[in-house]
Symmetry: C2
Subunit: 526 residues, 2 copies
C-alpha cells in the first residue's frame, strides 16, 4: 500500500465518518526523536567566592538543589529550615523516627532493620524525570527498579463483584477482551460508515483480535493473560471463567486505577533509591558545604532594593541576615503570615494557591503474607478510603515487611483520616485492608500515619490551583519579586513530584543567572 | 441497578447481537479467590538412608530439584552431567566464562565487574511462578524487581514510520486512543444493535473515554500518557502530535510486543536473582550433598526390572551404576541415540518432540547511553532479526552496562544467526541496533552469543510439539517407563521457563512417591 495514498485515504474516511480530520494528525511531523525532557545543563556564571550572599528558605528538594548549584558557582549560601529535620516532604520512616504532626507525638516503632521502612512523601521516580535522575547520579544515590503496577495485586470495590477482591490481571484482561469484542463486532458488520481499504480493514480486525485476545470468531472467551484457573505448568492449563462485564462497568477501577500504568508518571518502570527516598536528602547533605540552620522559622522577608533581609527565629532568638538573593520554598499559604513587602499581584498569586493533603499509613506486618498470594511489590486499588495498598518491592522473601496501608489523595478521604486520632487511623485502615486480604489486620504489628495536611511547617503538600488563575499566577510566581525567588514543587507544573521541585529550582536559577549576567555586562559597560 | 436484573439484561442483549451468551459467563462462579498455582508442598515418604539409590541425568534445574528433594527423603543420589558446567540452561555470563558451543571457542570478555553480566538462558521470574519462587526462598536466593515493560523504550519497524523508532508510550497511547475513539463512535451512534440500559450505556461510554483518554467529544487528540513534547515540569506541558493510525496498523508491534506486558508471564512485575540467574544454581549446589559428576556422558539406560542400569563415559572411562530409580532430563532428541530398552510408545513420544533454538547476544557497552534517553531497564522491540534489545535493570547510573543485543526466538531468525561465525553475529546484531540508537555499534566493546541450538549436550531449548500429539505424548512422558522418569521443562506445559522444569520435577517426584508408598504398603501386607 502506498503510504501517501493510505494517508489521504485515511483522512478522507475519517472525514466521512464525521470526526475531525485533525484527530489523526497524519501529516504532521511525528516527533520520533528521543524526548524525555532535558537533563539539567546549567551553566551558571561563577560570581567569585564571598561576593554574593544567598538565603535559601526551606531545606527540601528545591532549596537544596539551589544551594548545591549556587555553591558551585561561588555563592555564599545559608539554608534556613523551620523544622528540626532536613528534607522537607522527602521523608523515609524507620525505627525510632518521630512524625512531626501538629498535636500528636507519633514515633515509628518498626523493628530496627534496614528493609523495614516506607517513604512518607515521594516514593517513585520514572526515567523521564530527567532532573531527578540527574541529581541521583550526581549525588551518588544508588537506584533500583521497583514494582508499581502488579497484575497479581487486586482491585476491590465495595459496589462490584460482591465487594470481593479481583486480581488485576483478571479484571484488565477481561475488560480488554469485552471491549475488543464490541469493537470487532462493529468492524465486522461494517457498522462504521468507514470506507476502510480492504487491507486496513483487515489489519484493524486483526489488531482488535490481538488486543483483546479474541478467538477466531472475534469473541472473547477468556485468555491465559488473566492467569490460569488450574494447571499450565505441570498439567494442562485451564482458563478462568470470565468476569461479568456489567460488574466491571459498575466497578470504579476503570475510572483511574486500571489506567495508572498507562500514565506518563506511573507507567513501568519506576525507580527508587535503595534503602529509602531520603538517600537523596543524604546525598545533598553529603555534598553541601553551606550551613543548614534547622529549627529556624522565618519571620520577615523584605526586599531592600539591592538585596533581601530575612529575619528568623532560631531557638527563641531573633536573627537577621542580609543577602543579595533569597530563594523561598515556604508553602505559599504561610507567606501571607510572614511580614514582607511584596507587591499585591505577587501576594495575590501566592494566595490563589491551595494546598493538597495527601495521607499515608505504613504498617509493619509480622509476615509477608501477600507473597504467599504471588504478590511481590506493586499496588492493590480499592474504592475504600485507604485507596491503595502498596506491597514492598524490597526485602522479598524476608519474614516481615512494611506495607503502605493507606495512600489517600482525595481531599475527602484525607480529611477523614486527619480528623482521627493516630491510633484510630490505624485501626480504620487495617479494617479496610481486611476486605482485601483475609486476616490483614492480624498481621499488623504497628504503624504510623503521615497526614501532610497536619505536618508542622507544611500543613499540606502540592498545590491545587484554580484553572482560571493557573497560568497567570504561575507566570508571575516563576519571576522573582525583587531579589526574592519562589521555588518548590508548588510553583511547578508537576506538583507533588520531586521533579517539580527540581524544575522550580532550575527555573529560578536560570532566571537568576540571566539577571546576574545582565548586571555584570551592564556594570562592565558602566 | 439490581445486579440480577442487570445480569439477565446483559445476557439478553448479547444474545440479541448474535454473540454467544457463553462469552460473558456472567452467572458462573467468578473465581475471586487467590490463585497463583500451588507452592510446592511435597510430602515424600522417607525411605531410610542408604536403602534407595537414584541416578539423576542432567544437572539443570529439574535434576537439581529432584536431587534436593530426594536427599531430604533419604535417597542416595548421584547427579550425572554431560558438560563441564552445572546449571543446564540456567547460565549467567561474566568475565572469563566460556560458551560451550559446538565448534567455536567463545570467551566472555566483559570487564570483571559484578554488574557486567547477562543471563543467557532464563532471565525473569513472575510472582505466580510459585515453584520457582519457593525454591528461591528455600535456597536463600536474593531476588530483586527488574524492569521488563518500559514505556520509554522503543518499537522500531522497518515497514512503518519510515523505519524510525517510536517510544512505546507514544505508540501504545495513540493506538489505545484511536481504538477507543472508534468504539466510542460506534456506541455514540448506537450502531450496535445492543439494547443497553441507559446506565450501562453511559458507563460504557465513560469507560471507553477513560480507556483511550478521549476528549469531551469522544475524540482522541493526544494524551499526556504519550509523554510531553515539551514542558510539563517547569513550564506548561505541550502534547505530542499523534501518530498516524494507518502507520500503527502497518507496523508489527501490535501483533505481539505491544501486548507482552499483558501476558501472564511477562506482565509486571518480574523478578530476577540479584547478581545473576545462576544464583539459583549456586543455591542448589550449596545445599546438595549428593555427588554431581560433570563431564560424564550417558551411554546406556536400561530398566532391569527391579532398577535401572546407567552407563556413562567419564573422562574416557566407561562407568556403570545400578540404581533403584533414574530421573532423566537429557534432551529428548538425544535419547534415541543412547542405547536403551524403552518401549516403542515411549520412544515415539520422545521422538515427537522438537527442540526450539533461542538465540541471545550480550554486548558490553562502554557507556550506558540508553539512560541518557530516559531508559532504565526494559525492552525495545523491533521487527529486525535481533527482535529485542534489553537494557539492564541493575547497575543504574554506572559507566558501563551489558545490553542483551539480540533475543531471537523465531526459528528463522535463530537459524540465521546460528549459521554465522561468532564475530559475524555480533557485527550483524550491532548494525541492527544502529537503526534504533544512533551510534549503537560504536558503544560495543565486546560481546558473546549464546546459540542454544548449537550448545554442546543441549542442541536446542524448550520443546515444539505438534498440537495433535501434544496431550497424548505428554501423558505418556509424564508417567515413568519402568523405573525411569523423564523430567525437564521439555515435558512440562510451560517449556522454556524454569517453572516448567520445577513443575516437571515435582510431577515426577509425586509419581515416584505414589509408587514407593504403594510398594511399601504391598510389602508390609506381603
Amino acid at each position: 500500500m502506498n503510504r501517501h495514498l493510505s494517508r489521504r485515504h485515511f483522512l478522507n474516511l475519517v472525514g466521512a465518518v464525521g470526526g475531525s480530520t485533525a484527530i489523526y494528525q497524519t501529516s504532521r511531523a511525528m516527533g520520533l526523536l528521543p524526548e524525555t525532557g532535558p537533563a539539567p545543563n546549567l551553566d551558571l556564571k561563577h560570581v567569585g567566592r564571598g561576593t554574593k550572599k544567598v538565603a535559601i528558605l526551606g531545606a527540601g528538594i528545591s532549596g537544596m538543589t539551589v544551594a548545591y548549584e549556587l555553591e558551585r558557582a561561588g555563592y555564599d549560601c545559608t539554608v534556613i529550615e523551620a523544622s528540626k529535620r532536613i528534607g522537607g516532604r522527602n521523608i523515609t520512616l524507620r525505627h525510632g523516627d518521630v512524625i512531626d504532626e501538629m498535636g500528636y507525638d507519633q514515633v515509628c516503632n518498626f523493628d530496627d532493620e534496614p528493609h523495614l521502612f516506607f517513604n512518607g512523601g515521594p516514593a517513585r521516580i520514572p526515567g523521564h524525570h530527567r532532573r531527578a535522575m540527574h541529581y541521583c547520579k550526581a549525588l551518588g544515590v544508588e537506584l533500583e527498579i521497583m514494582a508499581n503496577d502488579n497484575r497479581l495485586a487486586y482491585t476491590q470495590d465495595s459496589d462490584a463483584f460482591d465487594g470481593k477482591p479481583v486480581r488485576i490481571r483478571h479484571y484488565t484482561t477481561d475488560a480488554r477482551g469485552f471491549m475488543s469484542e464490541l469493537l470487532y463486532k462493529a468492524l465486522d458488520r461494517s457498522q462504521f460508515e468507514m470506507p476502510l481499504s480492504e487491507e486496513d480493514h483487515e489489519r484493524l480486525r486483526q489488531f482488535v483480535k490481538v488486543y483483546g485476545d479474541l478467538n477466531d470468531d472475534g469473541l472473547y472467551k477468556g485468555s491465559p493473560r488473566a492467569g490460569f484457573k488450574t494447571g499450565g505448568y505441570g498439567k494442562p492449563g485451564v482458563l478462568k471463567e470470565t468476569l461479568d462485564f456489567s460488574e466491571i462497568l459498575k466497578s470504579s477501577f476503570w475510572r483511574r486505577g486500571m489506567h495508572f500504568n498507562q500514565t506518563e508518571d506511573w507507567a513501568a518502570p519506576l525507580m527508587t533509591p535503595v534503602g529509602g527516598m531520603d538517600n537523596i536528602v543524604r546525598g545533598f547533605v553529603r555534598h553541601l558545604k553551606s550551613p543548614i540552620v534547622t529549627d529556624a522559622q522565618v519571620q520577615g522577608i523584605h526586599n531592600t532594593g539591592g538585596g533581601v533581609d530575612v529575619v528568623y527565629n532560631h531557638r527563641g532568638k531573633r536573627r537577621k541576615i542580609s543577602v543579595d538573593y533569597c530563594f523561598n520554598s515556604i508553602p505559599s499559604h504561610f507567606i501571607a503570615g510572614i511580614p514582607n513587602n511584596f507587591s499585591n499581584d505577587y501576594l495575590q498569586a501566592l494566595a490563589d494557591m491551595r494546598r493538597g493533603n495527601f495521607f499515608k499509613i505504613g504498617f509493619q506486618m509480622r509476615e509477608r503474607f501477600w507473597e504467599r498470594e504471588g504478590i511481590y511489590g506493586g499496588i492493590t486499588h480499592t474504592n475504600q478510603e485507604i485507596n491503595e495498598i502498596w506491597y514492598p518491592s524490597h526485602g522479598i522473601n524476608k519474614q516481615k515487611g512494611v506495607v503502605l496501608g493507606t495512600y489517600a489523595f482525595g481531599p475527602d478521604q484525607s480529611n477523614k483520616f486527619e480528623r482521627m486520632l493516630p491510633d484510630e487511623r490505624l485501626r480504620y485502615a487495617a479494617a479496610q485492608g481486611d476486605k482485601i486480604h483475609k486476616g490483614y489486620s492480624d498481621y499488623v504489628e504497628n504503624g504510623v500515619s503521615v497526614p501532610w495536611g497536619r505536618m508542622k511547617f507544611l500543613m499540606g503538600c502540592g498545590n491545587r490551583v484554580l484553572d482560571e488563575n493557573h497560568d497567570r499566577d504561575f507566570r508571575r510566581l516563576q519571576l522573582p519579586e525583587g531579589r526574592h525567588f519562589m521555588i518548590g514543587d508548588q510553583i511547578s507544573y508537576h506538583s507533588s513530584w520531586q521533579e517539580g521541585a527540581f524544575a522550580s529550582a532550575l527555573n529560578a536559577l536560570e532566571e537568576l543567572d540571566r539577571r546576574v549576567r545582565a548586571e555584570s555586562s551592564a556594570s562592565s559597560r558602566g
